[in-house]
């Protein structure tokens, strides 16, 4: 009875008693949700266009951020460093397509997935050798991102909005809108959707698969760089970020592997859910630290009920 009260009544009492805490938690959930969506977006882009489940997306986030900080540390101005990092991501995209994707064309999906785990290892170790393993501060100010915070008073309490969080939400929205435009209005975008629909049909009308893949991997790299900058501005550039990036996987499961709106909404659900759950249920009942698994367990339960995700295409199998 006591337990039931702790589960069903007390959390809501706390929410009502301390609305500022609730609002602060919701805001934090929203911010981390946007970042999960961004990482998940990178996965979705590659999965849609090549059917490859890119496990390396998480480390690409870290790698891109490390590159940016590392190049800037050499004395290169921040914006030039940003452009150079984009160049590095393009190079990465080309070499992945050349050395991994092309030789593995027509292999089973699971083989391609495992090859991206291999890429993950190469990038983790390579990143540590080139840039060093210790956490680094993100060059937030040099990039012109805001760093201050505003305070909002709510019924006796205060809610703190970090400006970088607001900027993160805006940048993420712009990026997503830009990608949507790119996919729907440009020639490459249409070719990309054709490839996603049917590889062979796309090839037969003269779309270069290789070129499309490079574009997609580069786009995923750009998304990774953005996510890396925004995330690292909140904490640090470190390899621990890679574990957090794995949380994009439950986001994908919730949203569906092929749906961009799904990735966004899934990210927000996970973001809100894990912050609220940890504060109101995790800490009093389970001793805290539930953020590490909450997203995965939600995804697991969701999979039992609706395997194709919220917006995913229903899978029809034939023999």
């Amino acid at each position: 009875m006591e337990l039931l009260k702790q589960i069903f009544i007390e959390p809501f009492e706390t929410m009502y008693a301390l609305p500022d805490l609730l609002l602060q938690t919701l805001w934090e959930g929203f911010v981390s949700g946007t970042l999960y969506s961004l990482i998940a977006l990178g996965f979705v882009l590659i999965f849609k266009a090549s059917g490859v489940f890119n496990f390396a997306q998480g480390i690409m986030v870290v790698f891109a951020a490390l590159c940016l900080v590392g190049i800037h540390a050499l004395g290169v101005p921040a914006y030039l460093a940003l452009i150079l990092t984009l160049g590095v991501m393009a190079l990465l995209a080309m070499s992945v397509v050349q050395f991994v994707m092309k030789p593995l064309v027509n292999q089973p999906d699971i083989i391609l997935f495992m090859s991206t785990i291999g890429i993950t290892f190469i990038l983790i170790a390579g990143g540590q050798i080139i840039f060093g393993g210790e956490p680094k501060a993100m060059i937030t100010e040099e990039l012109g991102l805001p760093t201050g915070s505003s305070v909002l008073e709510v019924s006796g309490g205060i809610v703190i909005f970090q400006h970088i969080d607001i900027a993160a939400a805006i940048i993420a929205a712009i990026l997503i809108a830009g990608l949507a435009l790119f996919f729907n209005k440009t020639k490459i975008g249409r070719a990309l959707r054709a490839v996603a629909d049917d590889h062979q049909a796309a090839l037969s009308v003269g779309i270069s698969l290789e070129q499309i893949w490079v574009v997609v991997w580069f786009a995923a790299g750009v998304v990774a760089l953005t996510a890396g900058i925004l995330w690292a501005a909140k904490s640090d550039v470190s390899f621990a970020l890679q574990v957090i990036a794995l949380k994009a996987l439950p986001v994908l499961v919730l949203g569906g592997f092929t749906s961009i709106p799904g990735a966004i909404i899934g990210g927000l659900i996970i973001g809100f859910g894990e912050k609220l759950f940890d504060l109101y249920w995790g800490v009093p009942l389970l001793g805290g630290g539930t953020e590490s698994w909450f997203a995965f367990i939600i995804a697991l339960l969701f999979l039992l009920y609706r395997p194709e995700g919220l917006f995913g295409e229903k899978l029809i199998e034939r023999i």
């Binding site: 489940f53 991994v100 495992m114 698994w293 023999i319």
Partner: protein, 363 residues
């Protein structure tokens, strides 16, 4: 090999379905067993046994576990590290509760707990497959890791939050805990691995194993032919986690002597997955080869690379950099093997054997 099977005819069904139908193969197996049980304990020193052979055997067993799931049933899993942890913690709790019972019984019993947890997290596999299953096994990985950290009952309310191998004896020889005899630990490990490999090979060639392979090759067709996916998939999860659980309790009690929750983190799961990919999906021999390469290669690189770089180039590298280099090499090997030989080292070995069999007249 430099031998031919000419003149060896199979006259009975038993001979036809024998594990090693060729006489020379049988001879080689006995030869390897003699090396393993007699030569290595006699010749190996503390370092060789403790840092190379015992971990190699532990990881081989875990790789067999994962290979049953991924290689034979086609269900990819990234939770094997956590299932090893379940075995380790179960064994720890049981041997503390009943100190007088033989530790070997608990090492095997811990696999049962791991199997139960494995079946639970395998339940989603009935509705989903492929990448979605990666997510559900990662759920197991992160949830169990959290449980090892946050549930103090599991580590017996230790201040350190770690579990330590308590001292237990077998036939009067101390095999677990501080000051245990490495040679005895090695022999116990080897015996467990040999028995369980033999067991696995029998399951795989039996009815259950064949139903797993049918599920792997095409699940709908298998279902139409009368294989029940529920039993086939869940039994694969159970057996696989059983093997991982036994490997986990061996890791804590016969190798490391103590373990913290971080010993079972997801890097571990990746390591085991790499052993399976590199060794060969769907091959027991591959588990041995993969575990050998993934475990021994980094040790060799750590030993040899820094002095070598020191000698031939002006740079100096530390052993931690050498570890990173071996990570890169392993990553590249994974990609190269997936491109060139998706069936791994086991297939390479089979090809070499075939080439040698027909040598020097290949036509």
């Amino acid at each position: 090999m430099f031998y031919r099977e000419a003149g060896q005819f199979k006259a009975t069904y038993e001979a036809d379905s024998a594990k090693f139908p060729i006489f020379q193969d049988k001879l080689f197996i006995w030869f390897y067993l003699v090396i393993g049980f007699v030569a290595i304990p006699l010749l190996g020193n503390e370092f060789f046994l403790g840092a190379i052979m015992i971990p190699f055997l532990v990881f081989t067993l875990a790789a067999i576990g994962l290979n049953i799931l991924t290689g034979f049933t086609g269900q990819i899993s990234l939770g094997s590290g956590a299932f090893m942890g379940v075995g380790a913690y179960a064994c720890y709790k049981m041997t503390l509760a009943y100190p007088e019972v033989n530790i070997l019984i608990f090492i095997f019993a811990s696999g049962i707990f791991s199997a139960i947890v494995g079946v639970f997290f395998g339940l989603p596999s009935l509705r989903i497959k492929g990448f979605y299953l990666v997510v559900s096994t990662l759920a197991a990985q992160f949830f169990l890791e959290w449980a090892f950290q946050r549930i103090p009952w599991l580590y017996n309310y230790n201040n350190t939050g770690a579990i330590d191998g308590v001292s237990r004896w077998l036939f009067g020889i101390q095999i677990t805990g501080g000051g245990a005899d490495r040679t005895a630990q090695y022999i116990v490990c080897l015996a467990i691995v040999v028995v369980m490999t033999w067991f696995a090979s029998n399951i795989i060639s039996g009815r259950i194993g064949r139903s797993w392979m049918m599920i792997r090759d095409m699940d709908i067709a298998a279902e139409l032919m009368g294989v029940r996916p529920l039993y086939a998939k869940l039994s694969a999860f159970a057996v696989s986690s059983f093997y991982c659980g036994v490997a986990g309790s061996m890791m804590v009690f016969l190798w490391l002597g103590a373990a913290e929750p971080e010993s079972f983190d997801y890097n571990h799961s990746f390591e085991i997955l790499f052993m399976v990919i590199l060794g060969g999906l769907g091959s027991l021999l591959g588990c041995f080869l993969g575990a050998a390469v993934i475990w021994i290669l980094p040790i060799l690189i750590r030993e040899w690379l820094p002095p070598l770089i020191d000698k031939i180039t002006p740079w100096v590298i530390t052993s931690s950099t050498a570890d990173l280099v071996s990570d890169i090499i392993i990553g590249i090997m994974i990609v190269v093997f997936l491109i060139m030989e998706p069936h791994g080292l086991a297939r390479l070995w089979a090809i070499i054997k075939q080439k040698l069999r027909v040598w020097p007249f290949p036509y």
